[in-house]
Amino acid sequence: MGIQGLSKVIGDHAPDAMRENEIKNFFGRKVAIDASMSIYQFMIAVRGQDGMQLTNEAGETTSHLMGIFYRTIRMVESGIKPCYVFDGKPPTLKSGELAKRQERRAEAEKEAATAQEAGDTENFDKFSRRTVKVTRAHNEECKRLLKLMGIPFMDAPCEAEAQCAALCKAGKVFAAGSEDMDTLTFGSPILVRHLTFSEQRKIPVAEIHLDKALAGLGMTTDQFIDLCILLGCDYCESIKGIGPAKAYELVKKHGTIEEVLKHIDTKKYAVPADWPFAEARRLFKTPDVTDPESVELKWEDPDEDGIVEFLVKDKGFNEERIRNAVKKLQKQRGQATQGRLDTFFTVKPKEGSASKKDTASKKSKPSGKKK
């Protein structure tokens, strides 16, 4: 999932790149959300008291709809304008990673079955959560719901994170919303995490700025991508024995993976045979995305009766609750949105101030910013 240990590396070397914020401070912002990842989350997290997924009378899972419906409304209530991006075909390089996931799922299924037989509810709960798989039908149902809610969505030709990043880069949205750190590797200027988390968990939304991360790390975009590949991405294996600290050090010292390979002791660090790092790098640099300029995001009025028809009649949700929730959606429509000062006033570059603390912090931070 994403890039291993990247958030820690950024946290260590570029702490000002990450900012925690309350969800309500994102009002008026358009955010492109990685739908596939969110749906997966919902199917794991949204459960009934018995730890089983929510289902309707026919036994079809409804956790994903519950999640999409209420968490989207929560965002809209905070004034956020969400749009969803669904995964397309995974890149061939990901097949290794996907096969691994498949394997793990199969294992978890077995474990879950044994736990259930043994009446071990705790373990059953743990493993059944790992067996979750998002099917095409789940995605289609979510799209149908979003359409009824008047929330825009799109299909990415390939990876959803990459498309979110492209939308953000083109200024179509303020930020990309995903838990996957590789959204940054795809070049998203701003990544927000924890946006679709439950309100009860009280986890603040984390905002990560790529430019500040690069400045803090003292790396160019290319070096950053190489760093991510060394840390471990979805597309190829990483080198055994090279952890976050070592990876950072190596990229800082040698600049590119090619140079790193020339300098490390290949006996100590086993480089995978035919390591396709160059191909992974290409995927990050020029991912397969729809031209963001051709994408039109339009938020529309929700279709209350349509939602009731779908969620209440087909999926067995409580009608009163659904109608109340739709009211919240409608209320937000047509309301004037609060503007922000930074759209009117320009941020002045920081002047070197005479304060002692300032100079001290400058010393401790090497600023090797290259453009």
Binding site: K298, Q335, A336, L341, F344, V347, K350, S353, S355, K356
Partner: protein, 259 residues
């Protein structure tokens, strides 16, 4: 180092009280012209700009430009310990990590000393362009405060509508609608109670009442408040503190939804 003595210490207290609910931390930029603070609220909707002129202090000394990062909540609590007629002296060393405050009672019978820890604040500084506003309204500060309070029972936002006849503040909500119109020159006896409108062209803008109510905490500092408005730019709410300086608030308007 900085050494600034303010004969009317209560002014400093009122200034901090007027901004502490809007911003939690702020950098005081001190130089030979005076002490200035610019800070935005968390959600970047409002900005406060406080300026205290060097001439408002007696004496005022600032050899080198200094930035003092202060937690305003803590600052305000310390200032509450000051008597109403106390003289306050603010001191800070060039390399220090505290700012010291001394309150002296008028008769010199009591001297209180406080030291406040400085904090490292990473704040963005905004350049505010000079704007020729379409409408500039001066009105009694207490009247403005009351309007904001009264209308906030109805809804979250107020529409400010300035025409040549007067200023109309209106709000609407689930329970109903309401409006308050203040006419030009409505003063009866005192000049400070009148309302004047300088109008180039009529404007109508929508603002969050929550923020305006917050701004009106500066009412203790001035008799009059000046509202400067132009279409599609932030509202400027200004309270002039006599000869001492000013508190200016900027508030981004609410914008109608385009899609």
């Amino acid at each position: 180092m900085l050494e600034a003595r303010m004969p009317q210490g209560a002014i400093l207290r009122k200034c901090i009280d007027a901004i502490k609910d809007l911003v939690t931390d702020g950098n005081f930029d001190c130089n030979d012209s005076g002490i200035a603070l610019q800070a935005m609220d968390n959600s970047h909707v409002a900005l406060v700009n406080l300026f205290l002129r060097a001439s408002g202090f007696d004496p005022y000394r600032c050899d080198r430009n200094l930035t003092l990062g202060v937690n305003l909540g803590g600052f305000s609590k310390v200032l509450k310990c000051m008597g109403n007629d106390d003289v306050v002296t603010v001191k800070a060393e060039d390399d220090g990590d505290t700012v010291s405050l001394t309150f002296e009672s008028k008769d010199g019978g009591r001297v209180s000393e406080f030291e406040l820890k400085l904090v490292d604040i990473d704040s963005e500084h905004l350049g505010i362009p000079d704007t020729n506003y379409d409408a500039i309204v001066s009105m009694p500060a207490s009247e403005f405060q009351r309007i904001c309070r009264d209308l906030s029972v109805l809804g979250e936002s107020v529409i400010i509508d300035v025409s040549k006849d007067g200023v109309k503040f209106s709000a609407s909500g689930e329970s109903g609608t309401g409006s308050i119109t203040v006419k030009q020159g409505a003063s009866v006896d005192k000049e400070s109670e009148g309302t004047t409108i300088n109008l180039n062209s009529a404007v109508q803008l929508t603002f969050s009442l929550k923020y305006l109510q917050n701004f009106s905490k500066a009412t203790a500092l001035a008799d009059q408040v000046t509202l400067s408005l132009s279409a599609d730019v932030p509202l400027l709410v200004e309270y002039t503190i006599g000869e001492v300086g000013y508190v200016r608030y900027y508030l981004a308007p609410k914008i109608g939804d385009e899609n």
